[in-house]
Symmetry: C2
């Protein structure tokens, strides 16, 4: 069993520090099927408005996020969950005044955690 | 995109209500690779001390949990994450005085979400 905390995981710095991405559980740990990442967004920060051929399973840990989807926008808060099917265009924006955080699980694809 | 909240998901009642299990994202939603579940444990509640041939990727959302593993016990709180490799014996006990909640992601195996 591996037990740890996000603050012990070195972040990947994205968009000049507006976003931090941490691979909490991935191939380095022997996880072969899916990868658990934690994203931290400063107020106003937004992820790319894009699509790809794998899904996201997301759980909002902290803050207020606007989720843009092909069927409209949703404002979600701590405790909400989001399923983004493969190939659907999506984007997440921190629309709150505090840090926003969400767990985002993806299938394991070598080189893409 | 599917966006929802745990309180809108009908729970499976376990151990006379000491534990509630909610499938947040699973095959019903078109998720083909892995399943996101949310477990809610009352104080003192414990999951089975067991093993199986699939892994767990866990994120603690709320409360204080004792994680029993083959390499010792860990007391964890909100924000901690846990990887349980396939075939390792494990158990989770709510050792706090409040409700404990954790996300637990497993590979999709038909009939076992």
């Amino acid at each position: 069993m591996i037990v740890s905390r996000p603050e012990k995981v070195e972040p990947l710095i994205i968009d000049e520090g507006k976003i931090e991405k941490r691979i909490l559980i991935g191939s380095k740990d022997g996880a072969k099927n899916f990868v658990m990442r934690l994203f931290t967004l400063k107020p106003g920060a937004s992820t790319p408005h894009h699509s790809h051929d794998w899904e996201h399973e997301i759980f909002v840990v902290k803050g207020k996020i606007m989720a843009r989807s092909e069927n409209g926008d949703y404002e979600v808060e701590e405790g909400s969950f989001i399923f983004v099917p493969a190939n659907e265009k999506h984007q997440f924006v921190n629309v709150g005044e505090q840090i926003a955080e969400f767990i985002c699980v993806i299938p394991y694809i070598p080189g893409n955690e």
